[in-house]
Symmetry: C2
Subunit: 154 residues, 2 copies
Amino acid sequence: MLTVMTRWLDPDEQQTWRAFLTASRGLMETLDRELQRDAGMPHAYYEILVRLSEAPNRALRMSELADAAGSSRSRLSHAATRLEAAGWIRREDCPTDRRGQIAVLTDEGLTALRAAAPGHVAGVRRHLFDQLSPAQVDQLRRISEALADHLTGS
Amino acid sequence: MLTVMTRWLDPDEQQTWRAFLTASRGLMETLDRELQRDAGMPHAYYEILVRLSEAPNRALRMSELADAAGSSRSRLSHAATRLEAAGWIRREDCPTDRRGQIAVLTDEGLTALRAAAPGHVAGVRRHLFDQLSPAQVDQLRRISEALADHLTGS
DNA sequence: GCGCTTTAGTTGAGTCTTCAACTAAAGCGG
DNA sequence: CCGCTTTAGTTGAAGACTCAACTAAAGCGC
């Protein structure tokens, strides 16, 4: 067995990695807290409602919704239970696949989403876009796409 | 009362924001899962151990440790309880401030950290640095620093 | 030295996530 | 049409995090 010596992070890489950790963790925590405070929902639930609101008939199969919202199936299942209890979504049986469930955004859910959206978008703007130059925004998109491609690709 | 119309994200901003969400969430989840699988600890605990290992005498006041590890005090308190039960840290009374507690990395904690580090660093390299050009790494550092400055500054 | 405010840290309840185990139906090979 | 494997979705238990409430000690003004 051949064990290769670990290639540690050099000081520059170290700094980059720690800055990234601080920034992304801090940004998500801030937005999550704002959303929880102003709209009574965590960011993960907000994203579920957004994806449903964009879908035809405000409805999606559970697994499509999980993929769209970047959630595991188990996570979505638990979240759906809560969202249903809040009256924001409803579950329907899938007519073409008896295993399937369809999540539907209710009118109340849409109302809650519309109430939450302006504050949340303002937060994303204030904490992210307003802090970066247009060039940096472009760089961030390319960087993020490269990382996302790798994660889903391999 | 004057309510300003929300300035929504334009399609480009939307795409950037979603790519960023996918990438940062995916990256953190991947690293967290790898660390949990290979070393039996979540990333947050790993970071606590790292910070302690870098401190003089492998010891830090709880609040300094919380700041260093980017954790809330409550979170650190709960985590410390677990880490202490695992035998990886120990708590001592602070001699100069009777309110204070000092977290100390034990030999077992250092051993656990040393066992976890190579795999984790390899993951950071594989999932982050290997996917970006040197210019992009530099861009990411500047972007992250700008975001972090804003979050802690304001 | 005495109140008042601030800081240090912990705690418990409630919430969210993960993981593995599970049910049930669909798809497929022969 | 019959097994076998895969896919859809849910569930419960355990772990981790948040928030608010709390204890205790320090710092400060006078």
